[in-house]
């Protein structure tokens, strides 16, 4: 039905798709307005990364369990000392408002009634990655570093390891350490709090046995 496009038109189209046309970048304010007026669907998962509204990866089961485990573990260990945000927006800068998997922010929670947590209020950002590993490591990690997020942890579900990034700077994090599932890491903001990586990971085998259904 559609005639084949002349080569130059096709290459022009490809150029567009690869982003050579100047995209209109959005500010966090404009992005928030769009959400307010209902431009995004209820179940649409998007975030603002450097002025671009990007669609987020679909969550699989492992990812969902790891998020729940991390949330529970951090809540238990820190109690009132931090506010745990799960897939909630943070305001990195005027053009970036990502929604990391887990964020530890300064208490109390009612200080965030009029703004999303800003870098100086954030103790830790944790991203859980399976399919989005390369993106989280190569794009998100430097972005967090440039905006002064003091600790960024990347939970790698493929290798079952945790990458701990510290000392943020304009060129990225100066310190990176990788921990295996059996090892423990601590928090920059709370050095005495030690977390075993396996506590955040989804179990390899389930011990859950569904109770037998009653015969009707």
């Amino acid at each position: 039905m559609i005639a084949e496009l002349p080569t130059e038109v096709q290459s022009q189209r490809d150029a567009m798709r690869s982003g050579t046309l100047p995209l209109r970048l959005f500010t966090a304010k404009e992005y928030q307005r769009m959400a307010e007026v209902g431009l995004f669907g209820e179940d649409e998962r998007v975030e603002l990364i450097e002025g671009r509204i990007v669609q987020m990866a679909a969550k699989n089961m492992n990812h969902a369990i790891a998020t729940k485990r991390a949330n529970r573990c951090l809540m238990k260990l820190l109690d009132e000392r931090a506010v745990v945000g799960v897939q909630d927006p943070i305001l990195l800068n005027d053009y970036s408002e990502p929604e990391p998997d887990v964020v530890l922010a300064m208490p109390p929670d009612d200080r965030y009634l009029d703004h999303h947590p800003k870098p100086e209020e954030i103790f830790l950002v944790l991203e859980i990655a399976e399919t989005s590993l390369a993106y989280d490591r190569n794009e998100k990690c430097p972005l967090f570093a440039q905006n002064g997020i003091r600790q960024f942890c990347l939970l790698n579900l493929q290798t079952r390891e945790l990458e701990d990034y510290r000392e943020p700077g304009p060129d990225g994090y100066r310190s990176k350490r990788t921990y295996t599932a059996e090892e423990s890491f601590n928090l920059v903001a709370f050095p005495k709090v030690s977390i075993k990586v396996s506590e955040l990971l989804p179990p390899l085998k389930t011990t859950y046995v569904p109770s037998k259904r009653r015969k009707q």
């Binding site: 567009m16 046309l21 995209l23 209109r24 007026v37 990007v54 390369a134 993106y135 579900l157 493929q158």
Partner: protein, 109 residues
């Protein structure tokens, strides 16, 4: 997938599934959304275009381009008279996700 889980079982190690690589994709807009967008989100006088779902910044017209495009529009009006409507830098809707969006810099009719 089955071979991978078999080898993992044999070695008694967890099955590491090679996960497909995920790349972020831009949230694309429809023509309808861009109009909704005008509800006080983007400045009214901004020169933008919707091209295949992406909102593109249109650069400022240089004096040469401006003079050339207004000459063209004058010429076409002169030649065609009532036979066609000459729309000068006004939107055309190509499909749901492409529209050359308006701009208001005093030259529109």
């Amino acid at each position: 997938m089955t071979t991978a889980s078999k080898t993992a079982k044999q070695q008694n190690t967890p099955a590491l599934r090679p996960a497909p690589k995920w790349k972020p994709t831009l949230r694309r807009f429809t023509v309808e959304e861009v109009y909704m967008n005008e509800a006080g989100i983007l400045p009214e006088d901004e020169r933008i275009e919707l091209i295949e779902g992406e909102i593109i910044v249109r650069g400022k017209q240089g004096p040469q381009q401006a003079s050339c495009s207004s000459r063209i529009s004058d010429l076409l009006r002169q030649l065609l008279g009532q036979r066609a409507q000459v729309r000068f830098q006004l939107p055309v809707q190509l499909n749901d996700s492409s529209e050359m969006v308006y701009h208001r810099n005093g030259v529109n009719e």
